[in-house]
Every structure is written in structure tokens, then in C-alpha cells.
Amino acid sequence: MSACACPKECSQQQRHSPGVVKAEEPIVYVLLQPDHWAGGQLTAAAFAKSQLSRGTLSVCRGAHCTAEEARASIVQPQLERDDRRVLVGALRARCSDIRDIKLEAHRAVCVIDDGQANFPAHAVLAYSEVTKQEKFWERNQRSAVRAELARVFGLQPGPLSLKDCWDHFA
């Protein structure tokens, strides 16, 4: 069932990637919008549904880059593009926890390698194929999946500095 839900997880998608994303890998989401973290909770708004639908929600494979590389490749470019953004911190989740998000026994979120020449650790999150079936995919289910994603990334310890986040991997 898993293979059908996320076929792009089964083979390397980008030649610059270090391979398919493994279940035990730590996935990092860099939070740049202060409004999305308040009172010790990550808001569901941190993850845009439209990006999940397009499969363009960027995350970082913590085991395949350093804190400095993440800062140079993720944080700096986004801060330069939009000076209203602020680095809140790095949120971590285990890849298997993301892949474990299910609705009615169907996998809902795919974690896909998307390594770039200048940043091989880049990966994307996407709604699974099965969720694109018209009858299955209702508005509330999209809301639940996105809220689950926020719950998984919002678990303790919450946003860490890039250095602390990567020190934890070491």
C-alpha cells in the first residue's frame, strides 16, 4: 500500500540526492514565520496546503547537511527574498512519523528526495497519490492531514537554533 501511495519515494528522484529518504532519517523544517509558533504550539498554517498539493513543501534532510549549509541554502535565501521573515528555529521530525500520517488506513504524506546541486539535502513533502482520488479527498481530510503534520513537527522540543538542532543529530 505504501509503495502505491508514494511511488516517488521508491526511487531516487534527483541525481544530486544522497538517495531515497530513509524512514529513520531526521527531517528538519525551518520556521521563518514567527506567527506560526506561539504558546509552545506550531500552527497548522505553517504548512501550506497548496504546496503539499503541488509537492513543493521544502524540508531538509538533517543527516545530509550541516547547520551552516542549512543556513546558507535555506535560511539566507528566504530572508533575502522577504525581509518580513525571521528565523524562529528548526523543527525536527522523524521521517517515519511523517509517513505514518494516515487517513482511513491510507498514507497521506510522502517524503521525497529533491537534492539540488548546491544543496543535496533538499527534500519535499507532498500529499500522497491516493489522496488525489476525488472521492477520497475531501476538504476536512486535507485539513486533518495538514494538522497532523503540524502536530508531528510541533512535538517537543520545539524550535531549536540551527546549531542546537544539528548538535542533536551528532
Binding site: 506567527d35 496546503k49 476536512n140 485539513s143 492531514v145 495538514r146 502536530r151
Partner: protein, 242 residues
């Protein structure tokens, strides 16, 4: 900036026309108006939206009082300012009447959420917050036309949703996604409800049960007279538990 009334009207989006319709609704005789608290709370948002519209088209500075609107301003904005003054006056009168918390009885009570003591300050808080994000998050999506379009529509959907809530609830957290979607969350010790708006007159919702979010059981339709019963029940339980 020299804009003719027509060119401005050409740029007015559907939500802006909704604002005008809403102002007209507020000006109806008292016997026809919706419950006063709903009007009061929702009007706060619309005032902020109108101010934003005026400043967007350069006929009013962001912090300028409405009275400073130049006499040469296009007719649309003169009418707009007049409408805002009417709403402001109505708001003040409402506040005068409701300076103390009162017990309110609302139509079609389906749960304890619908009939309970009303804290007017708490009741208006979500709308104040929503008005606030018009300023902050609205700017955050300004560079993306699609996100801006979605946000402009979603904020009015959120206002309609709040207008249907007739009770004291825990303060929700309101935020805006990068694609312009408005997300409202109630977070309690024993639960969490997420309601999101994409600007299509519908909403999605999910409820945290046994540590995981599950999808709501009913379609979220803002044209429906009542909100989904499982959502109301959940918010009711969240309120009781706090």
C-alpha cells in the same frame, strides 16, 4: 495618485463588494438586523478591511482619520467613509449598552455553545485579532498575487464563520499560511480544533481526538444556517474543560 471612480471600481474585488453589501446590511432597521453581538464583532473586521482598502488606493493614509478623506476623493470612497462612520457609531452605541457582560439567548440553540453568558470583550477578541492580521499577514502575502487573492477572500469567510459563533469560547489562534489560507485554531488542555478558510465560502476542519487529528464529519458550508454539530460539540467540550 489619480484614479477615476471607474478604474477603482474595476480593481475592486468581490470581497470589497461584499463589504459594501455588509455595510448596507448593518444600516437596515434594527428589527431586521442580525444579533447585535454578531454585528458588533464582525463590524470590527470590516472597518479594518475598509481602512485597508482606502489606504491601498492611496486616498487615505494608514493612520489617518476617516475625516481626512479629501473632498476630491472618488465617490466610492466617500460612500465608504460614510458607511464606516455609521458602523462606528453603531458600535459605540452597542458598547454603551453592553458595558457589562450580559446573558444572551441566540436563535436555534443546538448546544451549550449557543446559550451561555456572553463576555463581550472575549467575544470580540477573535475579530480584533482577525483585523490585526489584515495588517500583518496581509502584507506577508502581498508579493504573491495568488496568495493575496486567496487571503482577501479567506478573511471574509473567517469573518462569516465568527459571526455564526454565538458564545464565549476560548480565544482562538488565527494565522495565515504562505498561500493566503486563514487558519483558526482553538487549543485547550484536552483538545485542539483547526478550522481553515480558502476563500470559497466553505471551510475545512479537523479535531484532535486520542492524540491524532481526525477529519470533521460534515462539510463546512458558510451558507448553511448552522455550523457542523460535531465541531460545535467539540468546541463546547473544549470550553467546558477549560
Amino acid at each position: 495618485m489619480n484614479l477615476s471612480t471607474r478604474s477603482i471600481r474595476d480593481q475592486i474585488t468581490q470581497p470589497a463588494r461584499e463589504e459594501l453589501a455588509f455595510i448596507e446590511e448593518l444600516r437596515r432597521p434594527a428589527s431586521q438586523t442580525p444579533p447585535v453581538l454578531d454585528t458588533d464583532a464582525t463590524a470590527l473586521l470590516y472597518i479594518a478591511a475598509h481602512r485597508l482598502a482606502c489606504s491601498r488606493f492611496g486616498v487615505l493614509g494608514k493612520g489617518d482619520p476617516l475625516e481626512s478623506l479629501p473632498s476630491s476623493a472618488p465617490t466610492y470612497f466617500v460612500g465608504l467613509a460614510r458607511g464606516i462612520r455609521v458602523v462606528s457609531k453603531a458600535l459605540q452605541q452597542t458598547r454603551d449598552r453592553l458595558s457589562e457582560p450580559v446573558t444572551g439567548v441566540y436563535p436555534q440553540p443546538s448546544s451549550r455553545v449557543a446559550v451561555m453568558q456572553v463576555d463581550t470583550a472575549g467575544r470580540n477578541e477573535p475579530l480584533r485579532r482577525l483585523a490585526q492580521i489584515l495588517e500583518t499577514s496581509g502584507r506577508a502575502v502581498a508579493n504573491d498575487p495568488e496568495a493575496k487573492r486567496r487571503f482577501n477572500a479567506a478573511k471574509f469567510d473567517a469573518a462569516k464563520f465568527f459571526a455564526k459563533l454565538s458564545a464565549k469560547l476560548p480565544k482562538p489562534r488565527i494565522s495565515v499560511a504562505e498561500d493566503g489560507e486563514v487558519v483558526v485554531e482553538w487549543i485547550g488542555h484536552n483538545g485542539r480544533a483547526v478550522v481553515d478558510f480558502e476563500g470559497d465560502d466553505h471551510f475545512g476542519y479537523a479535531l484532535l481526538r486520542n492524540g491524532r487529528f481526525i477529519a470533521g464529519q460534515h462539510a463546512g458550508d458558510l451558507q448553511a444556517p448552522m455550523l457542523p454539530p460535531d465541531l460545535l460539540q467539540y468546541l463546547d467540550e473544549l470550553t467546558t474543560a477549560e
